[in-house]
């Protein structure tokens, strides 16, 4: 889908006929509807006189399927099939296109897209349905209650006509305040496992437009030479060797000291010219440690007094002193790059009114527009955002500083602000460019009584804080504890009688950000490894042992129990396996979703490990698109396994060692044979699914490999004693 073209066509069409029914909400959240001519109306759905229905998507799509999900909600209520609805990404408008869980911020993250939109988009679709029915009822002189829309046709009271015929009249009617929503038992599309994604066709024909595909008349491409070590700054540079190279347009130092911009006509020319640049750097404040040192420093921190306290149950130390047995482990998780398939890039175009348009696979338009408004010194309203398909993100496109948008803004300013500037990163830039999943060290002591029951849990964590120093600190940091560092430990659903948790912030100029499931992607590994070790010490089946700690009250525990049971049933937990095969189990509750997984692995005679199969059980509330849920679980497991098996960003005296996919190795097709996903039937409101499948994958694998003899607590596995096929 070419979003820009379709929007232009829409405006043209609207001007020609004036008859487009649009339904959205006012900034107060009240349903509103009317003609296209009402410039103030920013709809969720619009229907033109030809009957073309378009869902306007307030969330971007990085592959997680939000576009299909939002279109499903509208199509369900409107009474049309999923094939009959078009989609386009909404412009930036934090008053009406905000994420209802984020306040006045338009953005996607935290696996909230469907959860926050579920009622809103259904209501918009239902209001449009009721208005069209009312218009038809007027025309036919019958009661609207006798009519229904079936596959885009208004039928009832002996009449039948395409809904297109009533669009113009419907647009003149008052919007119903509280349109009746479809009874879940009558859902045709929501929860239907046979529906297909909306983005299949454009993505298998090369037609889908990503930010990287933007080419504007007169544009110049900008690439940036960034410091070789985090925290270094530019002293001076010499670009004379690039003079005269084809397409080369000049170079300029960023005012932040964060690099030197090189301009050229095309991407390749810009990459080539950048090679010729020499830069003198100031390393005074730079990170100069190597990875081993960084790891040792963090491990030393978890063996010292913590800076902050995340949980402090009274009597934990005494209970530990009385334990019959204590299991103690240290863990280390390296920095990780998100490595989305589409490297970071965006384009800024000057507009006639003195404002600009940002073309981006934009994850949080309000952050991007706000940051650019500051850089370009213009009101936020003058920064328009054109959202395109995003080639992945995993959180990288949503850093609180929106670093790459800011870089593009600076490059645009330095170029004079008169022509479009397209900022391109190379894969090497993307791998070395920071905003990594923070490295983390954990030390855990679990005390058991003589029956193998947990009496005390002492947990120490050292990691760089993601939220401190950002806009989000006010809500995400409590008593010095960054919630995203510890999540999954002090708030565990396991009924641990006594727990203490201390946290220390590791300080470094290495930039960090959330990566798919944020803190859970390391805390989950630790929790589920320790639970396995405790079960083993107790001599109890690891599934049974976990369930015994989830037997308490609460809906979340009940959902987690069901997910575990479903994963176990799907995997045939407890049934015999061939020689050399083993299973491991793990689960986690996060983003209001319960996911449990069973890994089955094998080891050949030479000691090489193959992942045979993953089986997952998930409770995501009502699965709006079960097939998309399944795909997210498969993809989340694969994404996690890639880094658990092989990845880590390492440093040599502060310089990032890895540069591209040859040394930051993604999962490959041969790495895993099958992933089976079972979804807990549920009528509860939908939660999220993009992130929750990530945390259990690593520990499920680790627990399976441990069953074959090797317990891994230092990651990645391939560098710590596990040879994969």
């Amino acid at each position: 889908m070419n979003t820009s073209t379709s929007r232009r066509n829409f405006l043209k069409g609207a001007a020609a006929t004036g008859a487009v029914l649009m339904v959205g909400v006012t900034p107060k959240g009240v349903l509103a509807a009317g003609h296209a001519g009402l410039a103030s109306l920013t709809p969720f759905v619009k229907i033109d006189e030809a009957g073309t229905v378009t869902a306007v998507l307030k969330h971007f799509d990085m592959g997680q399927g939000a576009s299909t999900g939002l279109a499903t909600l509208i199509a369900e209520e409107l009474g049309i099939s999923l094939d009959e609805i078009e989609i386009e990404f909404a412009p930036h408008n934090p008053q009406v296109y905000n994420n209802l869980f984020f306040g006045p911020v338009q953005g996607t993250g935290g696996s909230t897209a469907i959860a926050n939109s579920f009622m809103q988009y259904r209501q918009a679709g239902a209001a449009a349905r009721e208005m069209i029915k009312a218009a038809a009822a007027n025309a036919w002189g019958v009661a609207a209650s006798e009519l229904a829309i079936v596959d885009g046709v208004v039928t009832g009271a002996g009449q039948s006509a395409p809904m297109a015929e009533f669009v113009a009249a419907a647009a003149d009617l008052a919007v119903p305040e509280d349109p009746s929503l479809t009874d879940p038992k009558d859902f045709r599309l929501i929860g239907n496992p046979t529906t297909h994604r909306k983005d299949n066709a454009p993505k298998i024909t090369g037609q889908a437009q990503y930010a990287m595909d933007v080419h504007l008349d007169g544009q110049v491409v900008a690439v940036i030479k960034r410091p070789p070590k985090f925290g270094a700054t530019v002293v001076s540079f010499d670009a004379s060797a690039a003079e005269g190279m084809p397409g080369y347009k000049g170079a300029a130092a960023l005012p932040t000291g964060g690099g030197v911009v090189v301009y050229a006509d095309t991407t390749w020319q810009a990459f080539q010219a950048r090679e010729e640049l020499t830069v003198e750097w100031d390393f005074t404040n730079a990170e100069t440690r190597s990875s081993d040192q960084i790891r040792d420093d963090m491990l030393a921190m978890v063996n010292s007094e913590p800076e902050f306290v995340a949980r402090a149950d009274e009597g934990t130390d005494a209970a530990m002193a009385g334990a019959a047995q204590v299991i103690e482990k240290e863990f280390y998780f390296p920095y990780l790059a998100h490595a989305s398939m589409e490297v970071l890039n965006c384009t800024i175009r000057p507009d006639e009114d003195g404002g600009v348009t940002l073309f981006d696979g934009c994850q949080v338009p309000t952050l991007s527009a706000g940051a650019l408004a500051q850089v370009l010194q213009m009101p936020m309203e003058k920064v328009r955002v054109e959202t395109l398909w995003a080639g992945g993100s995993f959180g990288r496109r949503a850093t609180s500083e929106v670093d790459y948008n800011v870089e593009a803004g600076l490059a645009f300013l330095l170029d004079g602000g008169q022509r479009p500037v397209k900022l391109m990163w190379s894969r090497e830039d993307d791998t070395t460019g920071g905003y990594y999943r923070p490295a983390a060290a954990h030390k855990v002591r679990v005390g058991l009584d003589a029956n193998g029951r947990i009496v005390a849990w002492q947990h120490q964590l050292a990691t760089p804080s993601i939220f401190k120093g950002t806009f989000f600190a006010a809500t995400q940091v409590v008593d010095g504890v960054d919630r995203s560092s510890v999540e999954g430990v002090p708030d565990t659903l396991y009924d641990i009688p006594k727990m203490t948790m201390g946290v220390s912030d590791f300080q470094s100029p290495i930039t960090v950000a959330w990566l798919r499931s944020v803190g859970h992607n390391h805390t989950g590994y630790v929790m589920e490894t320790m639970m396995d070790l405790a079960a083993e010490a107790a001599g109890v089946d690891p599934l049974e042992y976990r369930l015994s700690y989830l037997s308490g009250e609460g809906e979340e525990r009940a959902r987690m129990r069901e997910a575990f049971q479903l994963a176990a049933d799907t995997a045939g937990w407890g049934t015999p396996l061939p020689d050399g095969h083993a299973r491991g189990i793990a689960g986690m509750f996060c983003f209001n979703t319960a996911v449990a997984q069973v890994a089955e692995v094998s080891k050949d005679e030479d000691g090489y490990v193959q992942i045979e199969k993953f089986s997952a059980g998930v409770d995501v509330g009502l699965a709006v698109n079960p097939d998309v849920v399944e795909a997210q679980v498969q993809g989340g497991i694969g994404f996690a396994l890639g880094f658990i098996m092989r990845d880590g960003i390492g440093f040599d005296e502060g310089e990032v060692i890895q540069s591209n996919f040859h040394d930051y190795e993604p999962l490959r097709v041969w790495d895993i044979k099958d992933i089976e996903v079972a979804i807990v039937p549920s009528a509860a409101p939908p939660s999220g699914i993009a992130e929750p499948p990530v945390p259990p994958a690593g520990p499920a694998l680790a627990n399976a490999i441990a069953a074959l003899g090797t317990r891994v607590t230092m990651l990645p596995m391939a560098e710590n004693g596990v040879d994969f096929v």
Binding site: G63, I204, W268, M341, G392, R427, H662
Partner: protein, 153 residues
């Protein structure tokens, strides 16, 4: 002297210099942006196109070396294998972010042209160079088997 190649059945006289990789000529000069940049060093397969009927990594091919050749990109790749692959990809809803999928589709077409009934092992070997950061691999595998089934029918 300008390099001339045939792209999607049209002869194109190129202004890019001879050492420019085909990938960047397709994307930046010819605006055929369906072919994607993922790594630039033959490690990901996002840039895969058909060169004289064979899938190649367009980031590794300098246009000066392929003067007179025939290039087909994702926008135009066609034939029974292409139809079967696309049908299977839709049936299995393979795509997620989609950024690797141009390359996956072209490579899968190449596989089926060579071997209409690939085993899992064949798929591992032939598709192993195509990275998908969204990890759609399980469905890529199933869709290739499904495409083989469609071809056999």
């Amino acid at each position: 002297m300008a390099t001339t190649i045939t792209v999607n059945q049209t002869e194109r006289s190129l202004i890019s210099s001879e050492e420019t990789p085909l990938l960047w000529v397709l994307r930046d000069e010819l605006k055929l942006t369906g072919t994607k940049y993922g790594c630039g060093v033959a490690q990901c397969g996002a840039c895969t196109v058909m060169l004289d009927g064979q899938p190649v990594r367009s980031c590794q091919v300098a246009i000066g070396d392929i003067a007179g050749s025939d290039v087909t990109t994702i926008e135009a790749v066609s034939g029974v294998e292409a139809d079967a692959v696309r049908q299977a990809w839709v049936e299995m809803d393979v795509v997620q972010c989609g950024f690797c999928q141009s390359g996956q589709v072209v490579q899968a077409i190449g596989l089926l042209e060579l071997n209409p009934e690939p085993t899992d092992g064949d798929i591992d070997t032939y598709m192993g160079g195509n990275v998908c950061r969204c990890a759609t691999y399980v469905r890529v595998r199933k869709a290739i088997h499904r495409a083989a089934e469609i071809l056999a029918a």
